[in-house]
Subunit: 335 residues, 2 copies
């Protein structure tokens, strides 16, 4: 082992973290080649939680102790599998849910008030003296929120500022100022705008199915700021192409980065490159939690923000006291 | 004169009104050629208030009695000049200020959270595994509202829902929950986002001058949902080109429709074709007021929504009781 603990950063877009991490750790970067020479040194992986964890790699690192998610979400990681191998998992909860909600409203307005399409049309010379683009008022549009966790509540509150009429659905009831629909399909049927704001789990892949999409219908707008896997993307594209769904505004995709060619000719879409939670301020907050979790792990102290309260943190001489996430689990349904 | 009163619609984009107006009036359309044969029949003009009124035409119509603005704004019309000639002027106040405010927030989010640019980049294949677009959080951004009338207040309330810090300026102080800056330049200097929401008047052309634009600065975003003439557009474009201004999001322009070529290569802009107040619901409300004002004028009854309380409506056998606009004058500063 070297003097300083060694880390391995998994995703290329996390490369800017290197400068911060190198002040205290030896840093390896997966995309520069498998770190065979450091197999025995690497004690932590730094990952973006939306990407599937490479379990073969994990098993090839005998001294690995920690999977440190830079993000809030950790849906790419099988936490039970990690726990069974004595690996702790940390993440960055409670940092960017308001930013994600801001982005959701930006997507709703960009789609409903034709801001993205209007911008495109104007630049292409499509604004003429005899044309006038009329868009629907936000007032009274029915906003259906799927998953009333921290993000969903923040979306709902903002929707009210735009005079939208809020409803929601999640698998478990909870106290809320807005009515809960009996089923997801009922929510979609009774909504003009459906925002997916729930956590991605193993058992809710494709939650926004063809049936839900068709219930939302030819005038409806589907917004996804959660995870791509929650939506049956193939069904979504087909429904947009033949008008069974009105519009879609997506910040997340089945595969990321999504292939631009997949969306060529798919009408009535606004597409952003998973920027919802990626604000300067949120990234700073996530970096701080990452550094704190790494420091705690290597000092044998309690982790700052481990995943799941019930998970014992093994092999690090401490038990994780879940913050944020435990609270989110209580208040936020996980459809 | 014909049995039914005759109207002349001035702007092509108002052509869809024809179907409604023809149920009760003979309708002429200016762009189909000057209505020489009906010069003595035409008693009202139907106009979009942002376009300069053709005074030569007005003087060629001896029986003209009413200038009926379809819109809320009537900055293209010299009301005193009309009054001196016995012409009443009506408009459609209080119908779409909330829609305009919605659009302003849509523009702010589209620009700040890079929704329009992100959409363009993604479609062009610019989202790759090693790229990550980071945008500023809305939280704590300073929102400066120029003109705290109905639109300005609605913008300010929405800004608070996004955790922005609101300030404003108008030439006259008024009670408000937000601090008033001493000068427009001070507001610009102390704002991250400056939203132009005031009425256009003869004396505030170019209000957003080069000095104001530079005070807003290289990180600042200028949003205009009011009127193009309020902004020195040449200075704006120059400042965007050389980075003295950060971003601009514009729904209104010096000339409308604006020439797409004018904006080619001007960086960091979001441009929409004057759609802020043009919602389906607002257009219905404006149409209702138009029909009511026309009916009242030809029945010799008080006009529903004449411009300015102090203006006597001459030649129509009634005095206008200003609604909405008179109130707006009291509560809304007119910088």
């Amino acid at each position: 082992m070297t003097q300083r603990p060694a880390l391995l950063i998994m995703q290329r877009h996390l490369a800017p973290l290197t400068a911060f991490l190198e002040s205290q750790y030896d840093v390896y970067r997966f995309w520069e080649g498998p770190p065979r020479e450091a197999e025995h040194d690497i004690q932590a992986l730094v990952v973006a939680g939306e990407f599937p964890l490479d379990t073969h790699l994990v098993e090839s690192l005998p001294n690995l102790r920690l999977i440190a998610c830079f993000t809030s979400g950790y849906d790419g990681i099988d936490v039970d599998w990690c726990r069974a191998r004595g690996l702790a998992v940390t993440h960055a909860p409670g940092v960017n849910h308001e930013d994600v909600a801001d982005h959701a409203l930006g997507l709703i307005l960009a789609a409903r008030r034709q801001i993205a399409a209007g911008d495109r049309a104007l630049r292409a010379g499509g604004w003429t003296a005899d044309s006038k683009l009329i868009t629907p008022s936000m007032k009274g549009q029915r906003l259906g929120v799927v998953g009333l966790g921290a993000i969903g509540e923040a979306v709902a509150r903002r929707g009210e500022a735009f005079r939208m009429q809020v409803g929601w659905w999640g698998p478990r009831d909870k106290e809320a100022p807005w009515p809960r629909a009996e089923t997801l399909e009922a929510l979609a049927r009774d909504s003009d705008v459906l925002v997916v704001a729930c956590r991605a789990e193993d058992d809710n892949r494709g939650l926004i199915s063809r049936e839900v999409i068709e219930a939302l219908g030819p005038q409806g707008l589907l917004v996804n700021v959660a995870r791509g896997q929650l939506v049956d993307e193939t069904a979504l594209i087909a429904a947009l192409r033949d008008g069974r769904l009105g519009q879609a505004a997506l910040d997340v995709f089945e595969d990321e980065p999504t292939d631009a060619a997949r969306w060529a000719g798919v009408p009535n879409t606004v597409l952003t490159p998973h920027t919802g939670g990626a604000t300067t301020e949120a990234v700073q907050g996530m970096l701080m939690l990452l550094m704190q979790n790494l420091a705690a792990a290597f000092a044998g102290e309690p982790l700052k923000t481990p995943v799941k309260t019930e998970a014992r943190v093994q092999g690090l001489g401490a038990r994780g006291e879940g913050q944020g996430m435990g609270q989110a689990s209580k208040t936020g349904p996980r459809p």
